[in-house]
């Protein structure tokens, strides 16, 4: 047994599912996500994506940063931290949220799991322990990062409910979107939340690391008839753009990492106005956001349906007068929508649904570069929102 003091010898850790993800990773494609190594793709990005959209796919989310927040002031602490009213997230429910710095600029987004009385889990893309601890001044609250203590996996796609049914998990019949349920997995508690990052019917499963492999095996055994496949980060990225979800570091710069003050975004500028509640008690950034509401935001986030079939990667966005008004942050040729879609940040004076915008797309065919100016239509809904996403009980496909 290696001494705990030698922890530094392993620079990048394995997730609790590593024996299984490693065995499944036929392409041997990995990248680093926080402290862990995870799969970019297992066998074929297109097929993994196809499994996700037509059957179901499994994605290892263990490296996601998880914080446990508990104690008598857990609720007031979270309410001061995030912009939405956490008291409306009742026990057994999950809520999407963002939190801001003093200037009302978004530091990160994440999900709050209301696990029990005065007991919450905050999941985020970035590490937030420092900010959480600094925000805890004056609150009777315990904060712990518990990323390594929980193995988590996302099971997403139209047949995901059927797989869980086949595993004998009956509580999913009544499990509504953004709800949590705990069941027994061979003597260990298995927490199931109807959440995900794909915009489709799907679940996230949370278990002690000791039971991770068992969970993986059970899923693939039950899912064999339902087309279950492992899925890497590339396929997930396609799904999240189709769902219109934003990502820290891609669609917005976490405020605590910004050097240039105009590079950050407020919740208003990320189309997250619905997450800002001025009627609750004070939260960090409140005054700045109130001021911004009066003065008006500088930018807005738009979803674009781009003409043609070329992904508008990193494209400048122009208005009708050929003036640059923004840029694409995420883009994709969407196989489901059969369209080129994009998320873009544009000046607030542009980008209302009646506006025509233009994307300047550079692309190459056999090393020859060409440029296309593609007309963009501003879409008000997510690109891909199947009705099953919200149905309870979930359909048996």
């Amino acid at each position: 047994m290696r001494s705990p003091r030698a922890h530094y010898l392993q620079v990048v850790k394995h997730t609790p599912f590593h024996t299984r993800t490693h065995a499944a990773n036929q392409l041997n494609l990995w990248h680093r996500w926080r402290d862990y190594t995870v799969s970019d793709a297992y066998f074929d990005v297109a097929l993994e994506y196809t499994a996700l959209r037509n059957a179901c796919a499994v994605f290892d989310i263990s490296p996601m940063t998880k914080h446990r927040i508990s104690g008598p002031d857990a609720l007031p602490f979270l309410n001061r931290l995030v912009t939405r009213d956490v008291s409306k997230i009742s026990e057994g429910r999950v809520g999407y949220c963002v939190w801001c710095d003093d200037r009302g600029q978004v530091i990160d987004d994440g999900t709050i799991f209301h696990l029990g009385q005065n007991d919450y889990r905050l999941c985020s893309q970035e590490r937030q322990l420092d900010w959480l601890v600094r925000s805890a001044l004056g609150f009777d609250v315990q904060i712990r990062e518990e990323t390594a203590e929980i193995a988590a996996i996302a099971l997403q796609g139209p047949t995901s409910a059927a797989v869980l049914r086949a595993m004998g998990i009956s509580c999913i019949e009544s499990l509504t979107p953004f709800s949590i349920s705990v069941v027994d997995l061979a003597g260990a508690p298995l927490m199931i939340s109807r959440t995900g990052f794909t915009g489709d019917l799907g679940y996230e499963l949370w278990v002690a690391p000791t039971h991770a492999e068992q969970l993986w095996d059970a899923l693939f055994e039950a899912g064999a008839l339902y087309g279950i496949k492992p899925m890497g980060t590339h396929a997930l990225e396609m799904a999240r753009i189709e769902a219109g979800f934003i990502q820290a570091g891609v669609d917005f710069l976490p405020a605590d990492r910004a050097i240039r003050t105009d590079r950050t975004r407020s919740p208003f500028e990320l189309d997250l106005t619905w997450l800002v509640d001025f009627n609750k008690d004070h939260f960090t950034g409140r005054a700045a956001l109130l001021f911004e509401r009066t003065r008006g935001p500088r930018y807005r986030l738009v979803r674009l349906d781009v003409e043609g079939n070329k992904p508008a990667k990193d494209a400048y966005i122009y208005d009708d007068k050929r003036r640059v008004v923004g840029a694409v942050t995420s883009s994709l040729w969407s196989p489901m929508c059969k369209a080129s879609i994009a998320l873009a940040s544009v000046e607030v004076t542009r980008g209302s649904p009646s506006d025509t915008l233009w994307a300047e797309i550079y692309y190459q065919k056999e090393l020859k570069w060409s440029r296309a100016n593609a007309r963009c239509r501003v879409v008000s809904e997510a690109f891909y929102t199947p009705a099953r996403r919200k149905l309870t009980p979930p359909p048996n496909i």
Binding site: P76, D101, D102, R134, S135, D281, H282, R286, A287, L290
Partner: protein
């Protein structure tokens, strides 16, 4: 009884009273809520032994805002100075004391060079200090502005520096962040003189003469805009507060004693009420707190009503007091070595060299008290007969360094520390021990308990460049208006800081009156 919703001032310290008086004069219904049984806060006089009274904390004024003095007619409200232009007398065990007042060197043995350098040095420092002094009555500039007009306060400060003239400006910018010792070493060779001047730079701070920023603290001490010099209020520092209270009451303010505020009630980002220890709730939409920033924002208001980064900045506002107060009732007038009898009532300094002060400071860095402390002594009874029975005297000593965060705590250290103080005094005033009728020691912990000043810090928080002007108490809230609407800071924790000035109270009141209703 006040009928309309009053403007509440928390704390009847001198700044609270100044703010109350200005607001009441402008026609506001003002209610001052004071936790203690007397007005004055730390600017008070108390009886520490039967028949013997003394200034509780600060015992000399040099910074009292002349505009306040004038506007509030403090003389008419009973403020009399027993002595103005108090001289500084630097004691030495083995030689004649150095006596000076302003740029005038009155007695003492110095080399010709030192003697020649003294007046130009003091006058130059006075010119620099007056740049700071000119800022006292102004709301500090903002570091960020949307309209060009908001840049004016910052520009005006720059202009004040520029108006020093090229040579002075260059020198001002060179020395402003320096350690006083380095500047003194450039000018003088006499340890005795350097010790006396260094004392003004470190008194009331957690800094030593070799700490950066001590030129700034020296300048602050000399930034008073009045023409009384160092002065001794008749009846002790409490007399200043009494006259301010009289001025406030005269203008219509109500002062309620024994009314401790325990928290502020906030609704929709604005102050709604103050809650008292008695359980009483006083509705108010405008509240000025003369308490220190940490008490005001973290204890009364609560960090949860502030943004995270701001709450952290307030939390880290440095406020560890290092100055203790020792009061001694004497059966007769003590004699000090090398001091002419006519100088016993002046400001007596025990700091034989800057090195002495620096070594004294070393202890404080490591949470110990100085074995060889600095002292500023005043025997006010020489000029003020109201403080002690006839023929008897009071000695008031500021003793440094006696850090708030003493290792092992102050309880078991009290007796040895008092003995140490007496031992040092005996060295400079042989036979003083035989005159002692009673003594009282107020450590920073006592000062915190009695006057509610966090860390027992006389200035409500260290007064150095990183906590001064537009950075006082911390950046973002340096213009008296706190982030919660209707809440204002009006004490020494706000610009221009500590010393019995009243400028913070005056400026805060002006901000309150100027805001759009």
């Amino acid at each position: 009884m006040i009928k309309q919703k009053p403007t509440v001032v928390i704390g009847a310290g001198h700044n609270g009273l100044v703010a109350a008086a200005y607001l009441a004069r402008a026609g506001q219904a003002v209610l001052v809520l004071e936790a203690g049984a007397h007005v004055g806060g730390a600017a008070a006089t108390h009886e520490f032994f039967k028949g013997f009274r003394v200034s509780s904390v600060s015992h000399l004024t040099s910074l009292l805002d002349p505009v306040v003095h004038n506007d509030l007619s403090l003389a008419r409200h009973g403020l009399v100075f027993a002595k103005t232009h108090v001289k500084s007398v630097a004691l030495a065990v083995d030689q004649e004391a150095l006596v000076f007042e302003g740029a005038q060197l009155l007695a003492g043995t110095l080399s010709e060079l030192d003697r020649a350098a003294f007046a130009p040095f003091v006058k130059r420092m006075q010119r620099f200090a007056s740049v700071l002094g000119r800022q006292h009555g102004r709301v500090p500039p903002r570091l960020q502005w949307d309209r060009l007009i908001d840049a004016w306060p910052a520009a005006r400060f720059g202009l004040d520096v520029r108006r020093l003239g090229r040579e002075d400006m260059r020198e001002f910018l060179r020395v402003i962040t320096m350690a006083i010792q380095d500047v003194l070493d450039e000018e003088f060779s006499s340890d005795h003189l350097k010790g006396a001047l260094a004392m003004d730079a470190v008194l009331g701070t957690k800094l030593g003469p070799r700490s950066g920023n001590t030129v700034f603290s020296y300048l602050h001490r000399h930034s008073g805009q009045g023409h009384l010099g160092v002065a001794l209020p008749q009846g002790g520092m409490g007399a200043v507060s009494q006259s301010l209270a009289a001025a406030a009451r005269d203008a219509g303010a109500e002062i309620r004693l024994n009314s401790k505020v325990t928290s502020l009630e906030v609704s929709a980002g604005a102050v709604a009420a103050v809650l008292l220890e008695s359980g009483e709730r006083v509705e108010a939409s405008t509240v000025l707190s003369s308490l220190d920033p940490k008490t005001t924002l973290l204890a009364l208001l609560g960090a949860r009503h502030l943004d995270t980064e701001l709450a952290q900045r307030v939390h880290h506002f440095r406020s560890i007091g290092t100055a203790a107060k020792v009061h001694i009732a004497l059966s007769g007038l003590p004699q000090f070595r090398g001091v002419q009898p006519e100088h016993v009532g002046e400001r007596l300094l025990i700091c034989p060299s800057a090195e002495y002060a620096d070594e004294a400071f070393n202890a404080a860095k490591y949470q110990r008290y100085s074995e060889q402390p600095l002292m500023e002594l005043s025997v006010p009874t020489v000029y003020d007969a109201t403080l002690a029975p006839p023929g008897q005297h009071v000695l008031s000593a500021i003793v440094q360094y006696a850090p708030y965060d003493l290792k092992g705590g102050w309880e078991q250290a009290r007796a040895p520390f008092e003995a140490l103080v007496m031992q040092v005094l005996e060295r400079y005033a042989p036979g003083i021990g035989k005159l002692v009728l009673a003594t009282e020691l107020l450590t920073p912990v006592d000062l915190e308990r009695q006057f509610g000043m966090t860390g027992g810090h006389w200035h409500h928080g260290e007064l150095s460049m990183d906590q001064a002007l537009m950075l006082r108490p911390v950046h973002g809230i340096a213009q008296y208006q706190m982030p919660v609407q209707g809440l204002f800071l009006c004490g020494a924790g706000a610009h221009p800081g500590g010393g019995v000035m009243g400028s913070a109270g005056r400026n805060a009141a002006a901000v309150v009156l100027k805001r759009p209703s």
